[in-house]
Point group: C2
Chain length 233, copies 2
């Protein structure tokens, strides 16, 4: 309610009808963040009463949010026993990265056709920003930049359905990535890959870009799986 005023200030920009925020939606986003950032760890039970107190709301929005996130796959419903944060297994991580690889490859191909020069320039800018973080050894900002690059790439594929699907899946694996501790060697290698990716995109070589992205994702998968305590080919 207190934030209402500032919202209005932002609304008067150019949006004709300001969207009224739904409490359930806020709870969805807050819960999602808690889950993705691992504050609600995989496997933990979601106690409605506790969440209500934490989020300062009643059970109805919380329950609706849980149903929403269940559809998204971030939580699992146990009939008459509530819900838990979806556990992370090596198997599901592998599945997701395979899928993400295919999605990014598709996005890459589409981006080579549909991206505007301005969009590619934006990715290049993010890339150099990322290089800076890499040079300074700033891991967390590096990850943020990295994420933004991938999201921007998806975005400029010009396929909103693809983007939505990607985002949902990406949220899942980001949970796992919070555990991953990158070695310097792997980190350097990832940056090299990103350089090649940027080059292929700049030249709009769709097939090459697709292959690079698939391989890049595969390497990311290795890192995450090793962090999960299990490695395989």
């Amino acid at each position: 309610m207190d934030q209402h005023t500032e919202n209005h200030a932002a609304d008067s920009d150019d949006a004709p009808a300001a969207e009224p925020r739904l409490l359930a939606e806020e709870v969805v986003e807050r819960l999602r963040d808690l889950i993705i950032q691992g504050e609600l760890a995989p496997g933990v039970k979601l106690n409605e009463r506790v969440l209500c107190e934490r989020l300062r709301t009643s059970r109805t929005p919380v329950r609706e949010a849980i149903k929403f996130l269940a559809s998204e796959g971030l939580v699992e419903l146990l009939p008459n026993r509530g819900a838990i944060v979806t556990p992370i297994t090596a198997a599901t991580v592998r599945e997701m990265f395979v899928l993400l690889g295919a999605l990014e490859a598709l996005a890459g191909e589409l981006a080579c056709v549909n991206a505007s020069d301005a969009e590619i320039a934006e990715i290049r800018a993010l890339h150099y920003q990322m290089l800076a973080h890499h040079a300074r050894g700033e891991l967390s900002p590096y990850f943020r930049c990295n994420q933004q690059i991938h999201l921007q790439l998806i975005e400029c594929a010009g396929n909103a359905t693809l983007a939505n699907t990607y985002r949902a899946l990406n949220g899942h694996v980001r949970r796992a990535r919070y555990m991953a501790n990158l070695s310097q060697e792997r980190w350097d290698h990832a940056v090299e890959e990103h350089q090649k990716i940027l080059d292929a995109l700049s030249r709009r070589e769709g097939a090459v870009l697709a292959a690079l992205l698939r391989s890049h994702l595969s390497n990311k998968m290795q890192v995450v799986l090793e962090a999960l305590g299990e490695q395989m080919a």
Copy 2:
């Protein structure tokens, strides 16, 4: 409540711990079917009171189901104005088929590696069943068989995450396909494509199968788009 007894009868089959059906889940499935089969047409408003009467329940499960389906993308939430069945546009149909193409291509590649001979045999059986329906001009059973083949193919890729993603997207496009009226020529062509698909799968030629599936999906898209009253390349 009256249905409770019959449910129990079914439970005693062989399942060790019969899962207690949740009312909200039943509503999800019932609503989803109504939407996919077009009984709740794209764009129509979901009136909670009406749905409650129709599904013989209170607003709570209905609202939770709507949130669930919103996450799935089948309904759109309009804050303070309820929800509508997500409208179908040529643009989103195109997006979804492009994505489905990539997913099926991936599934095809994986299936060529992971599918058991028994699974492929099952697909072959479904294929011949489909040929029979085609020969008799039975459109609706043909579609069912066709769906089963594609689902089975996805299934034997051995990637549950991929399967889930596919199912959700497939539900969306099936809404549109209910409008599509297949010409005999296109129908014949689709059957030919399926023959090639089966052959490639039998020979476990992943790359070939992937390409075939992509092209098959692209053709399906044409049919649906034309039925939507708009054609484009």
